[in-house]
């Protein structure tokens, strides 16, 4: 029998390529399930999933909830804003409550890097990282990869640019790890102040010229620019960012061939990406959202197959 694929999903750093492929292949099947007259299957009946979001995120949370319901899991969700948590209940308290409630799978979004790992060391539930600070966001990167594969056929030798605020982006990190694992060539591009020190140690190329990056790549994944980066002094102005790094129709037309443009959302239209690119016919950005549900179904399905020691 095939080996259990996942105990937890904390990140894509160091993951075996075969696991990535298993997740992507499984997600392809779930994508078909989503197209059925009744887009729901029963494998997670009797399994309880808790979505614990310490950071506001409507999109990721809805995507996970939908995936869980499509798999017939019992779902509980709770969101906490960062400030109320720091005052009262600690992460450790939350963890102990989860233990007491006998939850099989925990999906956690947290502002602190390493928080999902912290949980795995202290509870028996399987843990899925739905984004931990500026560390990783593995399901986002997997859905990006699913979309990329759908449009390019494979990863070997594929040239992918990750554009924008690399320093603070968990999506960028997970994309780099995942894409490198399956043989893609990855370049990061953005203002020097938002490219973290020694990023080349992750095996990526670096560019600060978006046109040069576009000339080089087959796929560009445009990161969301947190608007507060301007006040923090990383960029002089949004206007300058848009002019220097924004993905515009003119920029894409200039390269004279089609490349795949991804964006994890939510978009700052007119900053990192123009509406006429995001909404163009053939834009894959909404496909990413659909793929998000399929990827999360695949991850939940593969993780829930684990026999818990006290189940």
């Amino acid at each position: 029998m095939s080996e259990l694929v996942l105990n937890h999903l904390l990140g894509l750093q160091g993951i075996e390529p075969s696991k990535i492929y298993t997740i992507l292949d499984t997600a392809d099947e779930f994508l078909k399930v989503l197209d059925r007259p009744i887009p729901k299957v029963p494998p997670l009946r009797g399994i309880t999933v808790a979505n614990i979001f310490f950071e506001p995120s409507t999109r990721t949370k809805i995507s996970f909830e939908l995936a869980e319901k499509r798999l017939s899991a019992d779902v509980v969700s709770f969101s906490k804003s960062g400030s109320s948590v720091s005052k009262g209940e600690t992460l450790l308290d939350t963890v102990r409550n989860i233990e007491a409630m006998k939850i099989d799978v925990v999906v956690i979004r947290h502002h602190a890097q390493g928080a999902p790992l912290f949980l795995t060391e202290r509870i028996k539930s399987a843990v899925i990282n739905a984004g931990d600070g500026s560390h990783e966001h593995p399901t986002q990167a997997l859905l990006d990869m699913m979309t990329i594969r759908g449009h390019t056929g494979g990863f070997e030798g594929l040239k992918v640019v990750v554009l924008g605020d690399i320093a603070h982006s968990r999506v960028a990190r997970s994309n780099i790890h995942g894409l490198k694992a399956v043989g893609a060539d990855v370049m990061v591009c953005g203002p020097s102040t938002l490219i973290p020190r020694d990023i080349e140690a992750l095996g990526v190329k670096i560019s600060t010229d978006v046109d040069e990056a576009l000339d080089w790549c087959d796929v560009i994944n445009v990161m969301r620019l947190q608007l507060e980066r301007q006040n923090q002094g990383y960029i002089p102005s949004l206007r300058e960012y848009q002019r220097t790094f924004g993905i515009t129709k003119a920029r894409l037309d200039r390269i004279g061939r089609k490349i795949v443009v991804l964006h994890p959302g939510p978009m700052n239209r007119g900053v990192e990406i123009d509406s006429n690119v995001a909404d163009a016919p053939g834009s894959v950005i909404l496909q990413q959202v659909t793929h998000g549900v399929a990827i999360r179904m695949a991850v939940l399905f593969l993780i829930s197959g684990k026999e818990r020691t006290d189940a």
């Binding site: 750093q13 720091s86 020190r197």
Partner: protein, 444 residues
């Protein structure tokens, strides 16, 4: 049997207490690098002083400690500890900190003033000192540089000096402006005291929680770059050079700072420096599991920095090894990495770590290790040195350089358990200390 009936002698569980009216150590290796003493001999202590080095007299009626396989050296001194009292007694008290010092072989410690209230008045200095009563540990409080450690204006340094303070620091924070540092250096020249700087340009270190580089980039953790230390170190050196004041750099951690200190010493600047056992042995890749016990300020650096620190220790660019013993309660560390407080305990592991990782591996000599852990810091703080010679006050550390033991945070005498060395197999361990007219020796 022991003569230690005195009520004030309170050895911790598992330890034997003696008073030093009449005490001898038989057949130990006596090792005092500064006196070039290295011989196996008996040593007799009468009324707290070394009365003879040589065979114990036939008619000796006092307690005898068997010294076979043991080494006796000048008492170890840790010039950088946080004993948390007053204000944070749930982390550590002066008493528990002194017992941790004993377990680590230290006969003296210099607690930093970041207590509540901070050590910026003679009353607080005297209070802290008194709390060490009944232990064989000299507690020599460091005074705050600025009033209330607020970084605004100088504390009453002359008053503090009258109360015995010979070193000042706002440790935990750097002195915020160059102007204030200049004034502190100038003012302390009157008493020839030393300013101890926690070197950190906070505008660069910001919210950093670990060394900035490939590891912080992969972990997505905010970086505390080495230049934040280097820039403050250079500022301190130039100010000391300009004013003629005495500057000491606490917990030096970067290779560039080692070089800055080396060059300054060559120019004759009044600069000294310490580094810690953890900066000498742990690099930042250990943070990959987000274990908050490895979160410390300044952060663990790279292997290249470790090599430079060892080189600096060897050529005496770095004068002293200090632990920066920083206890935190379990629940304070049992949180998300970015929220955990900085600091790790070190008193009980320092000697073992230095012997195992630096001396046994021949990176530094035993002489250099003993110097850096005992009299080098005393000299920086203008304190009388400990010597193994007839007539000297018996201020001694006894250790077994071959004892193998495993570090276990739960078995420490410190109130806290946040050691980064948990599970390490060490060779070399403190067996006992003699100081202040009493001796505590580990029972087997």
């Amino acid at each position: 049997m022991s003569h230690s009936a005195d009520n004030h002698i309170n050895p911790p569980e598992g330890w034997q207490g003696y008073n030093c009216h009449n005490l001898a150590i038989r057949g130990a290796r006596l090792f005092d690098p500064e006196l070039k003493l290295d011989m196996v001999s008996d040593i007799v202590i009468l009324e707290g002083k070394i009365s003879s080095i040589g065979p114990i007299p036939k008619d000796f009626g006092g307690d005898i400690i068997e010294g076979k396989e043991l080494t006796v050296c000048p008492g170890l001194f840790d010039m950088h500890v946080h004993l948390r009292e007053p204000g944070y007694e749930y982390k550590e008290t002066v008493q528990s900190g002194c017992l941790a010092a004993v377990a680590g072989g230290f006969t003296g410690v210099a607690p930093m003033p970041n207590t509540n209230p901070p050590t910026d008045t003679p009353a607080t200095v005297n209070f802290i000192r008194q709390q060490s009563a009944g232990t064989p540990v000299d507690v020599h409080p460091i005074g705050a540089i600025t009033a209330g450690r607020k970084g605004d204006q100088l504390s009453e340094m002359a008053e503090l000096n009258k109360a015995g303070v010979t070193g000042y620091s706002d440790d935990g924070s750097p002195v915020p402006t160059a102007e204030l540092m200049r004034l502190a250096l100038e003012y302390t020249m009157m008493s020839n005291s030393v300013i101890i700087e926690h070197a950190e340009d906070t505008s660069l270190s910001g919210k950093g929680v670990m060394d900035e580089g490939a590891v912080s980039t992969a972990l997505g953790l905010p970086g505390w770059p080495s230049i934040a230390e280097d820039i403050d170190v250079y500022r301190c050196i130039r100010l000391a050079e300009y004013t003629g004041g005495r500057i000491h750099i606490a917990h030096l951690s970067t290779k560039e700072s080692v070089q800055l200190v080396r060059e300054a010493k060559a120019r004759g600047v009044n600069v000294t420096a310490e580094t810690t056992p953890h900066h000498l042995t742990l690099d930042c890749t250990i943070l990959e599991g987000y274990n908050s016990n490895y979160k410390v300020n300044p952060p663990l650096r790279t292997k290249a920095d470790i090599d430079a620190l060892i080189e600096g220790l060897k050529d005496e660019t770095i004068d002293a090894i200090a632990t920066d013993h920083a206890p935190h309660a379990h629940d304070e560390k049992e949180v998300e990495f970015i929220l955990a407080p900085f600091g790790m305990i070190g008193l009980e592991t320092a000697l073992g770590v230095v012997l195992t990782k630096l001396v046994k591996t021949k990176k530094i000599t035993l002489s250099r290790a003993v110097q850096a852990l005992s009299n080098a810091p005393r000299k920086i703080l203008n304190l009388p040195v400990a010597k193994i010679e007839v007539g000297a006050i018996a201020n001694l550390t006894i250790f077994n350089s071959d004892e193998k033991w495993t570090v276990d945070g739960t078995k420490m005498l410190s109130k806290s358990q946040n050691t980064p060395f948990g599970g390490w197999e060490l060779t070399g361990r403190a067996t006992g200390v003699v100081n202040k007219g009493i001796a505590f020796v580990r029972r087997d």
